[in-house]
Every structure is written in structure tokens, then in C-alpha cells.
């Protein structure tokens, strides 16, 4: 993952999938990723999004009745991520 990105964590994978649909329908970039265990022990899937849109995204999810745990600014540890290392980025 990028050094700073938005991650929404959820209590249930049903909520995560629902949120992905809602965000994508509204034109936001959203991608289901494995839930980072260092920010939440909960659901195995989380949603990556552009952190700058947090206020609007929260409003949209609340409006559509999609439950979520929290929106995080995820700062990866200060070293290259495994993905970057393996993919030579």
C-alpha cells in the first residue's frame, strides 16, 4: 500500500462489500483489501480509498445506512512494504 492512504475498517464483510458498491456507484475510487491487522482486529476485508474524501465518504455511507467501524489514515511502517519490495517498486 501507499505510504499514506485511507482505509475504512468494518465489522462484517457484508458491510465492506456494500460500502464498495456504494462508493463506486458514487464515482469514488474504492478497493477491497485485506484488513490491516495493525489497525483493527476485526473483519478480514477493508476498503482502501482516497483519504481526502473522508468527510464526503462518511456522509455517503451514513446516508445509505452502511455500517463501518472507522476511517483511518493508514501510515505504513517506515520501510518499503512487502508488496513494493516484491514487485520492485
Amino acid at each position: 500500500m501507499d505510504e499514506n492512504c485511507g482505509i475504512i475498517t468494518f465489522y462484517s464483510s457484508s458491510h465492506a462489500v456494500h460500502a464498495e458498491k456504494v462508493l463506486k456507484s458514487a464515482g469514488y475510487l474504492a478497493e477491497l483489501v485485506p484488513g490491516p491487522k495493525d489497525i483493527s482486529p476485526n473483519c478480514g476485508v477493508a476498503l482502501r480509498y482516497d483519504y481526502e474524501n473522508t468527510d464526503k465518504v462518511k456522509e455517503l455511507l451514513e446516508q445509505k445506512g452502511v455500517a463501518y467501524e472507522a476511517c483511518h489514515l493508514y501510515r505504513a511502517p517506515q520501510r518499503k512494504s512487502l508488496l513494493d519490495l516484491l514487485l520492485g517498486r
Binding site: Y11, S12, S13, S14, H15, A16, V17, H18, K21, L32, V33, P34, G35, P41, N42, C43, G44, V45, A46, G65, A67
Partner: protein, 381 residues
């Protein structure tokens, strides 16, 4: 090709999109939905969610998370009944319920629950005022079948729902015979808990079904276990759908169900219209055969597509065997897991021959069935 008239037991054939979706799921997406974060688990979770959305849409539920999947309608009914009645109280039901409702209720009655069984008329239809007369301050639930699996009688669920709402009593509906083939709207029918099966009118595979909870309703879990959520906790989550879905879902089945509901919803009006027309033809034809007695409503508007008959004094199983072996017509004979309904209709203990129409039933098949029944009635005379 058999003439398949046992759709009340399970619908057949299924639409090709259904097995295509299931095969594709098994080959490509078959992770454990909602457990792992990898792409296959996510693909499986999306598939399950699509099934939730499809079911929510066809019953008028607002949020997909309020669709809970179980292996069949019976399990869903057990979740509802044991969820609401284990602490006693009074429950009202009709006299034409399937054993999926009656057996849990009779068991709960033995545990101290007071059970009122409201008697339906000779055609299997319920008068909503009889429900009103049965309500008491201790009534915890009114549970009703949407349509009888024995005689097809479609119950006035909206009228009963309105009464239940008036008295502040939760209303549960067993839609095993109607989901996918008769109109259902959770809000307009005042339904608090709806039990459905995936493998009948919705056209999906066996092993799928569930319940839908109205927005402000809740139930305790029947099964406790892993849900892929709150994994740091040894207690069941409080949020839906996870609260009521412990263990791995029948995801491949739900892939089939999602495809099935999509097809069924798109063809709903056309199929229903055709079914009503075929029922009219069938009832007209049966009325003209001496020795045949029909049970249940003969007005197609009041019948969900299930026709029960007896032929003179012949045992129903013998008639069923003849229909199958001589004419290739597949039906279900006997008591159809609904002894209460047969007692109401006056066909207990001998039972009936039940012919049930489905999405694929053609007018040629109805003609064939009428000819066969005519021949049998002749022989039996």
C-alpha cells in the same frame, strides 16, 4: 422428458444461468466469503452480497444486511420461533401450516407456550377477524403461511399483518411456497420476519434459504460460532447478518441463487400471469372429470399454483404411481408434511395427489396431466 408437476417440493428445471453461475463460482471465486482478505475470499463475499441484494429487492427489503441466509426455510423458521418463544407466551397460527412451523410450535407448546391454532375454512383460507379474536395481552407472535403447500390457498397476509401491527404483535410469514412467484412486500404486508427458501419459486439450488428481518426487528442467534468478524471476541456479534450466520455459508449455492433471483425477478409478471392461466385451464378440466375431487381455492387469484385432488376412493399413492409409471407425470402424494392442512381440508389420513405448477410448466403439460387423470378416473370407476 418427464412432466414435472412437483414444484411445491422443489422447482425444476433450473434456469441455465443458475448452473453456469455455480460452476463459475467453483472454478474461480470459491474462497470462503468474508473470512480471508485475499481476492478469492473477496470474490466470494461479493457473490454472497449479490444474493443478499437480489433477495432484498424481490421482497422489498431496504437493506441487504437484513437478509440472513440459512440452509432452508425450515432452519429460518426455527431461528424465528425459537428466537421469540423460548421464554413462553402466547402464539397464534393457522390450521394449514407446514410441519416446519407446526413441529417447532408443538414442541414449544410442550415447554409451556400457549398455542392458538385458528381454523381455516374448507378451502384452506383464513379469516383475518379470527386472528383478531385470538389476540391476547400475552401474544408474542402471529405466524402464518403465505400459501398452503397442500392446496395452494393464498392467505390474506397484509390484512393479518395490519391486525398484528395494530396490537403491537410481531408478524412472521412462511413464504416457502410464494417467494419468487407471488408478490411480497415486507413493508406493505406489515411483515416483521419473512422465511423463504431458495429452491422453489426463486429457482435456486437446494441448500439455500433464509429469513428477512424488518428494519426495527431483532432475533437472538440459534447457532453460535465463527462469523469471520470480531475475531478477537469469543462472543457472537450483535450486528446483522453475522449475528445469525455462524459457520461457512453455502456460497456456491448462493452464487446459483443470485443468478436465479435475477432471472425470476425479470420474468415475474409474465410467469405469474401464465401460471394463473394454466391454473384456470387445469381447474376447468378437472371439474369435467367424473370421480375427481379438488381441494383448495379454484379461483386462480387465490391459488399459488398447487392443486390437490383425490380420484374416487383410490389411495393417493396408487394414483401417484400410475401417473408416474404409465404417464410420466411426477407428483407428490400423501400428507405433504402438513397433517394440519389435511385435517382442515378433510383429507386426513388418506392424503391427496398434489400437482404443483412452476416456471417451466406448459399448457401441453397441463393437457397431458388432464388426459392422464381422466384415464385413471375411468379405470378407477
Amino acid at each position: 422428458m418427464p412432466v414435472y408437476l412437483d414444484n411445491a417440493a422443489t422447482s425444476w428445471p433450473k434456469h441455465p444461468d443458475v448452473f453456469a453461475a455455480m460452476a463459475r463460482f467453483m472454478q474461480e471465486d470459491a474462497g470462503n466469503p468474508g473470512r480471508s482478505g485475499h481476492s478469492m475470499s473477496v470474490a466470494a463475499a461479493r457473490t454472497v452480497f449479490a444474493a443478499r441484494e437480489a433477495v432484498a429487492s424481490i421482497v422489498g427489503a431496504q437493506s441487504p444486511e437484513r437478509v440472513v441466509f440459512t440452509k432452508n426455510a425450515t432452519e429460518a423458521l426455527n431461528v424465528i420461533l425459537f428466537g421469540l418463544l423460548t421464554n413462553g407466551g402466547h402464539v397464534i397460527t393457522s390450521s394449514v401450516e407446514h410441519n416446519a412451523v407446526m413441529r417447532p410450535l408443538r414442541y414449544l407448546e410442550r415447554q409451556g407456550v400457549r398455542l392458538s391454532v385458528v381454523v381455516c375454512d374448507g378451502r384452506g383460507l383464513l379469516d383475518p377477524d379470527d386472528i383478531r379474536r385470538a389476540v391476547s395481552p400475552e401474544t408474542k407472535l402471529i405466524i402464518l403461511t403465505h400459501a398452503s403447500n397442500v392446496c395452494g390457498a393464498i392467505q390474506p397476509i397484509a390484512a393479518v399483518g395490519r391486525i398484528a401491527r395494530e396490537y403491537g404483535v410481531p408478524f412472521a410469514v412462511d413464504a416457502a411456497q410464494t417467494a419468487g412467484s407471488e408478490p411480497i412486500n415486507i413493508a406493505q404486508d406489515y411483515i416483521d420476519f419473512l422465511a423463504f427458501t431458495g429452491h422453489k419459486g426463486l429457482g435456486g439450488p437446494q441448500g439455500t434459504g433464509g429469513l428477512v428481518l424488518a428494519e426495527d426487528r431483532d432475533l437472538p442467534p440459534l447457532l453460535h460460532g465463527g462469523t469471520g468478524s470480531l475475531s478477537d471476541s469469543e462472543y457472537q456479534p450483535e450486528f446483522l447478518p453475522d449475528k445469525l450466520e455462524s459457520g461457512t455459508l453455502n456460497a456456491v449455492g448462493l452464487a446459483g441463487l443470485a443468478a436465479a433471483v435475477k432471472v425470476t425477478a425479470a420474468r415475474f409478471d409474465v410467469l405469474r400471469q401464465r401460471k394463473k392461466e394454466l391454473l384456470a385451464t387445469f381447474f376447468d378440466g378437472l371439474a369435467a372429470v367424473p370421480g375427481v375431487k379438488t381441494y383448495g381455492p379454484i379461483n386462480p387469484e387465490q391459488n399459488a399454483g398447487v392443486v390437490s385432488i383425490t380420484i374416487r376412493d383410490r389411495v393417493s399413492s396408487e394414483v401417484g404411481l400410475a401417473l408416474d409409471r404409465v404417464f410420466g407425470i411426477l407428483t407428490r402424494t400423501g400428507l405433504h408434511c402438513a397433517p394440519a392442512a389435511h385435517k382442515t381440508l378433510g383429507t386426513f389420513p388418506q392424503g391427496t395427489v398434489r400437482l404443483s405448477l412452476g416456471a417451466s410448466t406448459t399448457s401441453q403439460e397441463i393437457t397431458t396431466a388432464l388426459e392422464a387423470i381422466s384415464r385413471i378416473a375411468d379405470m378407477a370407476g
